[in-house]
């Protein structure tokens, strides 16, 4: 902790050897450092997951391509999905939560700093374990053998009869380990928000980011635990002769689907709610207005959390549930669109009458709004179960959830990185490179994922390593692949921006965006103890009150 001690002007501190610095980072329990570690972990895995996506796209460039074998292709889409969800999206969002929640509620650290470190290392080692499967998956033969059962790992493909060797075990154990990490972080965030808020910060005065992360963490506890239970059951099946999912021995393949999706669907909201949180901080600041309808935003989030717990089987419309079950999951799934729509309208209401500044974080946020709108509407189509009997398991569904995850979550994440990078590093990211990044990525994204809906409508199933010519899929797939490369170019610009700006970016100062929440009241990067004296707040926008003493928010709340 000595590295962040208060520096006295004129006193020279000797450079520490790099081993000491490394040791400090590895043993750190500081929420900011752990947050950054989470993000760096995600950055490593996003490159791996991205390479896998590229291999998939090159293979599908034209019909009957043989760039990779079917075995390799199946490993690629399994690893791509698993990596992006569990070792990119979850860690990076936990990283932001870790970094921002204590700062925004005026706390000096998370409630349980050591649990925090433990959770991070579980996640990181879970990821390493997953990737070790490339080396260790089939043991003695030397050839790599990563999991190839798809990221849902439907039974009975995971039974030992169909998945010999240990590749599925790596998948299971990696998710089990990182799942415990997620649960730990969930507990930690809840405890921090409930117990560590600074004086004056009632629940109703918390920044929306804190509120939404509270909801997200509660969902982690409810949704990740069934997944962990199912992983243990799968291990029992594989090694102790259990027959939970082993259909050959009377087990139920459908049971696994329920277990997986009762995790898998809330998981989507676990990922998107923190992104709603970023937007709810960024859009007001760049529109120069407070968030429109704060209580409704909180209520809508809680509502999404509840309803999203009862929609899981819309992933199973084709499995052969009876018409009542299909109807039930249709209505619940459509219903979740209502609070989600309210959120979009409230962001619109926030921009309405504002003075919108088109800085890079705002550009990505606006991109999110449009894309999330489309993703939501294709979601409504898929919620209509007969429509899903056609579109489910096709490329339409792949396009839909990439619209959510890339067009929504990733755009929001880019917005968040551009917005908070100055706080984390003390340097601004280059606006010029940022705009290049934004426009290139926008073009690549739309080229890839807009077009991807069409092969699904034309009958192309997902997870096929090759396809027949003459079905009208070739040209579309080629264009989709071209779009992927445009996205890669944009990501390279982003990575370059991260590195260059770290060394050469403009100094950020405490509050480069003229923002209103507590993290902008302290230096960039913040000292280890965050706040020299614990702040006291009187409204949702303490810095607004400070900057406008003649017209403080506290007068209206």
């Amino acid at each position: 902790m000595s590295s962040n001690a208060i520096t006295v002007p004129g006193v020279q501190i000797d450079e520490k050897p790099w081993v000491d610095t490394l040791h400090e980072w590895v043993t750190t329990v500081d929420h900011k450092r752990l947050g950054i570690l989470y993000m760096l972990t995600a950055l490593v895995f996003v490159v791996l997951g991205g390479v896998e996506a590229l291999i998939i796209r090159i293979q599908l460039m034209h019909s009957h391509n043989d760039f990779v074998s079917p075995e390799v292709f199946n490993r690629m889409f399994t690893m791509h999905g698993t990596t992006m969800i569990f070792f990119v999206a979850m860690p990076v969002l936990f990283g932001f939560a870790n970094y921002l929640v204590p700062l925004m509620i005026g706390a000096r650290d998370m409630a349980f700093p050591r649990l925090n470190a433990f959770s991070f290392w579980l996640t990181a080692f879970g990821g390493l374990l997953l990737y070790f499967s490339f080396l260790g998956g089939s043991g003695l033969y030397g050839a790599g053998n990563a999991p190839d059962v798809g990221w849902w790992a439907y039974a009975p493909l995971t039974a030992r009869a169909f998945s010999p060797g240990h590749s599925s075990d790596y998948w299971t154990v990696a998710l089990l380990v990182s799942g415990f990490g997620s649960i730990g972080t969930g507990i930690n965030i809840i405890a921090t928000i409930l117990c560590m808020r600074c004086p004056g910060m009632r629940l109703g005065r918390m920044p929306l980011l804190a509120w939404l992360n509270l909801v997200m963490s509660a969902m982690v506890l409810i949704a990740v635990t069934p997944l962990s239970a199912a992983q243990i059951m799968l291990l029992v099946d594989r090694y102790l002769g259990g027959h939970f999912f082993d259909a050959q021995a009377g087990g139920s393949a459908v049971l696994w689907m329920h277990f997986f999706w009762i995790f898998g669907h809330p998981e989507v909201y676990i990922l998107i709610i923190p992104c709603f949180a970023f937007l709810s901080e960024i859009i007001p600041v760049f529109s120069r207005k407070p968030i429109f309808g704060y209580p409704v935003m909180v209520a809508a989030t809680v509502c999404i959390a509840f309803v999203s717990m009862s929609v899981w089987a819309h992933h199973m419309f084709t499995v052969g549930m009876n018409s009542y079950a299909n109807s039930f999951f249709t209505i619940t799934t459509m219903a979740v669109g209502v609070p989600t729509g309210i959120k979009i309208f409230n962001w619109l209401g926030t921009m309405w009458g504002g003075k919108i500044l088109f800085k890079v974080p705002m550009l990505f946020s606006i991109g999110f709004l449009f894309q999330f709108l489309i993703a939501g509407l294709t979601g409504i189509m898929l919620a209509s179960s007969p429509f899903d009997w056609q579109l489910g398991l096709s490329y339409f569904v792949v396009a839909h959830f990439h619209y959510v995850i890339v067009g929504g979550i990733l755009f929001a994440l880019f917005a968040a990185v551009y917005y908070w990078y100055p706080k984390m590093t003390g340097r601004m990211l280059s606006e010029r490179l940022g705009k290049w990044h934004f426009w290139l990525f926008l073009i690549g994204f739309h080229l890839t994922f807009d077009l991807m809906h069409i092969p699904g409508i034309l009958g192309m199933p997902r997870r096929i390593y090759t396809y027949e010519p003459g079905r009208g899929w070739d040209t579309l797939n080629l264009l989709i692949t071209v779009g992927t490369f445009v996205q890669v170019l944009a990501i390279l610009l982003f990575l370059a921006n991260l590195v260059i700006s770290y060394f050469k970016g403009d100094r950020a100062g405490n509050d480069p965006w003229d923002a209103w929440t507590l993290e902008w009241s302290i230096s960039s990067p913040p000292p280890a103890y965050n706040f020299a004296s614990i702040p006291v707040v009187a409204s949702r926008r303490p810095l607004w009150d400070l900057k406008h003493p003649e017209d403080p928010d506290s007068r209206y709340e």
Binding site: F292, G320, I331, V338, M351, L373, L377, S384, P386, F387
Partner: protein, 349 residues
């Protein structure tokens, strides 16, 4: 004024572009030959009612899209920061209960409408009663091929489903009972019906009543292992006469031809018969496709290759050359034996 007209002209050209793109996709859909896999070119009642519902859902979501899109674009342009308002903050508005209520209630109403339209179609398709005179087919998914049994007709075949056309005055729908022998699969012929999974230990049912004859394509839609991609489906919708003729020919035992006795001997004395059956001979394996009328099928390897003597020879020699990961082992036959077996296969009409 001129400016305004220019804007209109631009808008119109954009709008025309969108309509054109949509129409060309639609035209593509309509002009597709019988072999298409387009969900918007339905040729059977379940697929048609889904397509109608889909258009309804598309129109509603399309309207929502246009409205919200317009509002977003308007607010982004209208409320952008201008040079003239330097330094002043806009009016700080915290919310409005009336507006919040409006944009809660309207979506709720839309959801109710969409749900009711959907529930109707769910019921119509899933709870359809089974009329007399239906064709009953048992479809069994295997790792990378389809087994079709007609229990009432005593037929066993593979990969290519034959069903009669179902005209409105003489309705003969086909009901499929879906099973899996191993992992999950999904039966999907986009122009005939939505997909239904074949799940082990979980029998499912679906129905088709094609309104026109022709070949309809599809494939396995649920990831089932290495060769999920080459688990293709062909449905031949025949006229009632053609279907009756097909049934009759399929009910015959295998052709016995003394000219290919050598090939038959090789076939029956190697591992072939562990997995394959030829009716009327001592080959009665059930792990692989029934070969009794192999030559009546246009493809082999579940659609991965056309059914020609050359492809058949390659397939028997080493299936991995056509379908890497297929579960049929390479038979390691000598060239002479290979030729003999292929000739034998050629006679199984």
């Amino acid at each position: 004024m001129l400016m305004r007209q220019m804007r209109f002209a631009e808008l119109r050209s954009i709008w025309q572009g969108i309509v054109l793109a949509f129409l060309s996709t639609a035209a593509f859909a309509v002009s597709e030959p019988a072999n298409g896999t387009n969900i918007f070119a339905p040729a059977s009642t379940p697929a048609k009612s889904i397509a109608h519902l889909s258009v309804f859902v598309l129109v509603i979501t399309g309207i929502i899209f246009v409205v919200v899109f317009t509002l977003l674009v308007y607010s982004i342009i209208k409320f952008r920061k201008r040079a003239s308002d330097e330094g002043r903050e806009p009016a700080q508005v915290y919310g409005s209960t009336q507006i919040e209520l409006a944009w809660t209630i309207i979506p709720v109403l839309i959801v109710v409408v969409l749900y009711l339209a959907t529930a109707r179609v769910i019921h119509a398709i899933q709870d359809a009663s089974e009329p007399a005179g239906t064709v009953q087919v048992t479809a069994i998914g295997h790792q990378y091929w389809w087994e079709f049994r007609y229990p009432k007709l005593g037929i066993v075949t593979a990969n290519e489903l034959h069903i009669p056309v179902s005209e409105s005055e003489n309705s003969t729908p086909t009901f499929l009972n879906l099973f899996s022998a191993d992992t999950d699969h999904s039966f999907w012929i986009p122009e005939l019906a939505g997909k239904t999974d074949l799940v082990p230990n979980h029998p499912n049912r679906m129905w088709l009543d094609p309104h026109r004859t022709g070949i309809f394509l599809g494939q396995c839609a649920q990831y089932c292992g290495v060769q999920h991609a080459k688990m293709l489906l062909r449905v031949s919708v025949d006229t009632p006469e053609a279907f009756a003729a097909w049934v009759h020919s399929q009910q015959q035992p295998a052709v016995q031809d003394a000219n290919v006795a050598a090939g038959q001997r090789v076939f029956e004395t190697t591992a072939c018969i562990n997995c394959h059956a030829v009716a009327g001979t001592n080959a009665n394996g059930r792990f692989g496709p029934d070969l009794t009328h192999l030559m009546s099928r246009t493809t082999i390897a579940s659609g991965a290759a056309p059914n020609t003597p050359e492809k058949l020879r390659i397939w028997i020699q080493d299936p991995n050359k056509i379908k890497p990961g297929a579960l049929m082992p390479a038979m390691q036959l000598s060239d002479a034996d290979l030729d003999a077996v292929v000739s034998y296969m050629e006679t199984l009409r």
